[in-house]
């Protein structure tokens, strides 16, 4: 087992370096100049000398190999440097957003689990009945409805419902307060994006629960249990569900990693100051260091989540370790 863990750990390194390589050169292939944008802003005239100097200060004139080495060394030492636009430490800028993104991701996961496990089970147990059809329709709708559209509709509904109930219009807060400082304020802001993304996310998980449960229900030991005359409920709770959850955990793991950096559109709709938005902002202002930093954090979250999922798999299913 430990050998497998070690091998799996080693395999993370090329992925991380590969991602670093891709983002580094992708950024430099994009048009646009951070100095031009920083100094020229909204239409101001900047002379060449200032731009040259700015580029020099930011180290943009160093050979690419040197810049890349700096960047990789930075990842290795967990020192991402400073933002080319704001000049603040990237770890500080990311730290602010990481908290919020993490909370939304966790809440969305909870929402998704609460919806998907019961619904997926129902759907599998009553396969090809009207219950199954309804559950699947609801689940597929979750994938089909664009999350930004759902977000806009939720916000509109909040305005109308609050007015109908209290007479004044209510909108979620605009600024993030950590949950331990003011839980009510915090939750009244973040519950909505968590529901909007959690629904989409639950759709994937519901389908996975259903299909893996169906597979398990056909396995021999379940048939044996049935033959022994065990009550259906016990079979499902005690035997089937436990074994069927593995692929569901995988899906949840991968989705969780995605939620950390992939919620750009939802963040925009709900005015969340999260990692996804920071990422888009820094790319659109050609802030190389900042973009690289965030991409690497997202890649790391992804790689580490996958690592744990794989380890879990190997632990539960010894065949994997030896293959």
């Amino acid at each position: 087992m430990w050998q497998y863990v070690f091998k799996r750990l080693l395999l993370m390194i090329p992925t991380v370096i590969g991602a670093a390589f891709v983002i580094f050169f992708l950024l430099r292939a994009m048009p646009g100049d951070v100095c031009e944008l920083k100094l020229g802003g909204e239409g101001a005239y900047v002379d060449e000398a200032q731009i040259t100097l700015c580029r020099e200060q930011l180290g943009l004139d160093d050979p690419l190999a040197v810049q890349f080495a700096d960047f990789v060394w930075g990842i290795a030492t967990l020192d991402f440097g400073t933002s080319m636009i704001t000049g603040r430490a990237i770890t500080y800028e990311m730290g602010l957003r990481f908290e919020l993104s993490l909370q939304v991701a966790i809440m969305a996961t909870i929402v998704a689990i609460m919806i998907s496990i019961p619904l997926g089970t129902l759907s599998a147990v009553y396969q090809n009945t009207w219950i199954d059809y309804i559950v699947r329709t609801v689940a597929i709708a979750g994938i089909a409805i664009p999350s930004f559209w759902l977000g806009i509709l939720i916000l509109l509904a909040l305005l109308s419902i609050s007015e109908a109930m209290t007479g004044t219009r209510w909108t979620p807060p605009l600024d993030y307060v950590p949950i331990w400082e003011d839980p009510v304020y915090n939750l009244s802001m973040l519950i909505w994006p968590a529901v909007a993304t959690g629904y989409r996310y639950s759709a994937v998980a519901t389908r996975m629960t259903r299909s893996s449960l169906l597979e398990v229900l056909r396995e021999d030991y379940v048939r044996t249990a049935r033959a022994k005359g065990l009550v259906e409920k016990i079979i499902i709770n005690r035997h089937a569900l436990k074994n069927a959850l593995l692929p569901v955990v995988t899906v949840i793991g991968i989705e969780f990693a995605f939620l950390m950096g992939g919620l750009v559109v939802t963040e925009q709709v709900f005015n969340l100051n999260g990692l996804g938005n920071l990422l888009v902002q820094s790319v659109t202002s050609v802030d190389y260091t900042m973009t690289q930093g965030i991409v690497m954090v997202i890649v790391l979250v992804f790689v580490i989540t996958n690592f744990f999922v794989d380890i879990l798999y190997a632990w539960l299913d010894p065949r994997i370790r030896y293959s």
Binding site: T15, G32, I145, P146, V283
Partner: protein, 302 residues
């Protein structure tokens, strides 16, 4: 009445069995059938767009700004006085073009890479898997932003922007398909007859094409049907972020982006494109699920 020749009989039998398969599908997969109907309707809508509506989707009629849904404009008009129904209909062209192209190209490249990687194995396989890992881990939005930005500085002829949207969406599909295909192909590679074929001196290309590819067609087709809906949704998201196709091209995501400003005062502008996306993706997903159930041997017996 003349006697039927054996050929005709054969044909008839084929037809009957095809019909039986079809009715069987409809009976077993009512949801999938519903999805299939939606898919066919959307395809018809895209193909026959100019025959369904008389309006030009890009022509502005300033005297018709913000007309509510009614007799003349069943879904109302938008901020430029354009008929929304017309734009929703023409929008299906953009959506389906992007959807099918991305799904087919992404899955096919994935198929080739996945099978090749499984067949050659060893170092090639190892390297290939690491590259796929990188692309799996990479945030899609950055890829899309970078590709779209780069395309702008290339100074390409007009109306090529949609191809870059397609590239941006296709890239993340490749590793996902390749991974699934590789897993199936690995299993097939273990079967002794591949070794036998090798021993007989068949070329690599022949073995791959004749023996391995046909055996991974099921996951390949499942991936294609699953990707179409996802590609439509991704295109809508990119357009919503302003990274997709540009005005005045009719596209649902772009229509939603523009409609945000009017969602309170003229809600019909924001509702129909959203319905078009949701229903379309819904249909493709239902259909894709049914195809998966039909093709997946494990589930077929159920």
């Amino acid at each position: 009445m003349t006697e039927m020749t054996t050929d005709q009989l054969e044909e008839l039998r084929d037809r009957i069995s095809l019909f039986k398969q079809f009715t069987g599908f409809v009976r077993k997969q009512p949801l999938g059938t519903a999805g299939g109907v939606v898919v066919i309707l959307y395809i018809l809508m895209a193909v026959f767009a100019p025959y369904i509506t008389g309006f030009d989707p890009t022509e502005n009629f300033y005297q018709n700004q913000f007309v509510a849904p009614g007799m003349q404009f069943p879904m109302g008009t938008d901020e430029w006085g354009r008929d929304i129904l017309t734009r929703v209909i023409y929008g299906s062209r953009t959506a389906l073009f992007v959807g099918f192209t991305c799904a087919i190209v992404g899955s096919t490249v994935g198929l080739v890479l996945g099978v090749g990687s499984a067949y050659y194995g060893g170092l090639i396989d190892l390297l290939f898997q690491r590259v796929m890992d990188v692309f799996m881990a990479f945030p899609l939005i950055i890829m899309a932003l970078a590709i779209v930005s780069m395309s702008r500085s290339l100074h390409l002829p007009p109306d090529t922007s949609v191809y870059f949207v397609i590239i941006a969406i296709t890239i993340p599909f490749i590793p996902r398909c390749a991974r699934v295909v590789r897993a199936s192909a690995l299993a097939i590679r273990e079967i002794p007859y591949i070794d036998a074929a090798r021993a007989n001196g068949f070329s690599d290309a022949r073995i791959i094409l004749r023996h391995m590819v046909p055996n991974v067609m099921a996951p390949y087709l499942i991936m294609i049907t699953a990707f179409v809906g996802q590609a439509i949704l991704l295109e809508a998201s990119l357009s919503f972020l302003g990274l997709g196709v540009q005005d005045p091209v009719p596209a649902w995501g772009l229509m939603l982006r523009n409609a945000q400003e009017f969602i309170r005062t003229e809600p019909w502008i924001a509702i129909w494109p959203g319905v078009a996306i949701s229903l379309g993706v819904f249909g493709f997903n239902l259909f894709g699920d049914a195809i998966r159930d039909a093709l997946d041997p494990k589930l077929r017996t159920q």
